[in-house]
């Protein structure tokens, strides 16, 4: 029981515009430490919505979300930001890097925000993460000088900087070609097998999903297989 890192209880979510629609229906499941999970389902089945709730960014839901035994429903905006900063690494479909900063600084930012260790150490760690993902040569470039695949790898490095409890990704390969998708998948797999990193990946690439440890399949806001 102690290695349950994330748990949901009866999570439901409504969209009210233009009419009230229940997009998530009583979602309950658990994620154990070290699991490599993919969430699949057709477009509009609510998998991204679920991911945003799990990542604490979306707080407008019913039910309960527990991360490492703490109920997220009781936390205010600043505390949730802290949870995201410390425990969750997020990778988006679109890379979402800040073009104002160098690649290295982009990776460092969440670490600097957490501020547990000195800037020197964060810089060192960030460089190590970039090395792990094979893009250390690009460290001092600006994100807009990088290719799509490289950007996504930088985004993964950024998600890793605070050694999060779990990495969540929203269709991380959605914008990438076959070759780059393969690279990204291999990185995730390596993180899972070598570093026992917990991963929750939303995807509609079944081939990708089939190579993960566990598949959660959703349809019409419900989990139909897990």
């Amino acid at each position: 029981m102690s290695n349950v890192i994330l748990k949901t209880e009866q999570i439901s979510k409504y969209f009210h515009d233009p009419i009230s629609v229940k997009v998530l229906k009583d979602i309950s499941f658990e994620i154990l430490k070290g699991e490599f999970i993919s969430v699949i389902g057709k477009s509009g089945c609510g998998k991204s919505t679920l991911l945003y709730i799990l990542s604490t960014m979306d707080t407008d839901y019913e039910g309960a979300l527990w991360i490492e035994g703490e109920n997220m429903g009781n936390k205010n905006e600043a505390e949730l930001a802290r949870v995201r900063n410390e425990k969750i690494g997020f990778v988006f479909q679109f890379h979402y890097l800040l073009n104002e900063f160098s690649v290295l600084k982009n990776v460092m930012l969440p670490g600097l925000k957490l501020g547990n260790i000195s800037e020197k150490e964060i810089e060192h760690n960030a460089f190590e993460k970039l090395k792990l993902l094979g893009i250390e040569k690009e460290a001092l470039k600006k994100p807009n000088q990088l290719s799509g695949g490289e950007k996504q790898r930088v985004a993964i490095a950024r998600a890793l900087i605070n050694n999060p409890m779990i990495i969540m990704a929203d269709e991380p390969t959605g914008n990438l070609d076959k070759k780059n998708s393969e690279i990204v998948f291999n990185i995730f797999q390596e993180l899972s097998s070598l570093y026992n990193q917990s991963l929750l990946i939303v995807t509609h690439d079944n081939e990708f999903a089939n190579r993960t440890n566990r598949i959660i399949e959703m349809e019409d806001g419900k989990i139909i297989k897990m």
Binding site: L97, P110, D170
Partner: protein, 419 residues
Amino acid sequence: MNYKLIASISISLLMARWRQTLVAAIGVTFSITMFVGLLSFMSGLNDMLDGLILNRTAHIRLYKEIKPSKQQPIDISNEFKNYHNFIRSVKPKNERLELYDAAGIMNALKNDERVVGVVPKVTTQVFYNVGALDINGIIDGIDAAEESRLFQFKDYVVDGNYLDLKNTPNSIILGKGVAEKMMVQLGDVIVVTTSKGEQISLKVVGLFQSGIRDIDIVQSYCSLNTTQRLLGESSTYITDIQVKLKDVSLAPLIAKEYENVFHLDALDIQTANAQFETGSFIRTLISYSVGITLLIVAGFGIYNILNMMIYEKMDSIAILKATGFSGKDVNAIFILIASTIGIVGGIFGLAFGLGLSVIIDHVPFNTASLPAIKTYPINYNPKIYLIGLSFSIVTTYFAGYFPARRASKIDPVIIIRGK
């Protein structure tokens, strides 16, 4: 909150769009420059106009007025004490204009904490003799050095040295209008007839121009001694005591007090020059409203630019929030951006404002009424700079506050999902 991190993010955002930043900062700089320049100029002009009358006027003038006694015998009588007594056609009694124990009063005034200085004055009517003609005139007997120190007498002596009045016996500084009428120059000797009919020769050691023609065609100055001799009085004879106060605004109050203590008439500057008070107040009001309007307009400019900036940075804000920055952090970043623009723009504005003031200060400005002034007047009051800087910081803070608050409330999910 990690201020170093917040600061480094703000600076990066500022530098990433440095042109936009520059435009915003120039907007602030321009308005502060204008504010400082305009206010310095306007308050300089204001001070000059005030100075035209107020500088050379005593804050309180103690003198004796020829008027009937306020207390008539019937008011003192017990029988009619509770009646309204109407007495008509009361005539003043023949009293000397001399202030009794002037030296004692002056000593008492000099010991008053609120007083900067005290100068005695003797005023007498004379006739300037020009051939067969007599021109009406007034001679004030003054202490030239003290008069200069307290009331800028030397600024109005356009020719000759004002101190010669003291150093040369039987000397006179003639009003410029009088001198023109009499066609005399420095070093000439003129003859005046005193009110007692005596004729006395005086040497012209200077010319005086107040800028008010009505004064310049009658007024002249002699030393106290000379004037007392013109009147045939002793050296204790004083008709006026002029007081300069540390705080002019207290003049009406102190005047009343002196009136009661010394049993003399006391005229304060506000009563004597009421129109200048009003005029000066209104001019100050106008210049401040123009200045503040400039700053508010600049504030809206900054508000617009920051609003646009935030609109462009939506993605960045969302990403900062997704990676663990709280609304408070985002708020602080944008407030810092706004304040930086405000402070930097403001400081440059002060510098340029000072430059503008210096330029105006060097533009020639010659006017007959103000012999002491050669260029346009500027008031380098630090208060103006302080107001300019604080106002620039306050307006930019508020111009940044609302966009920053909006940024802090942005929901990252909406932006990320929107893609």
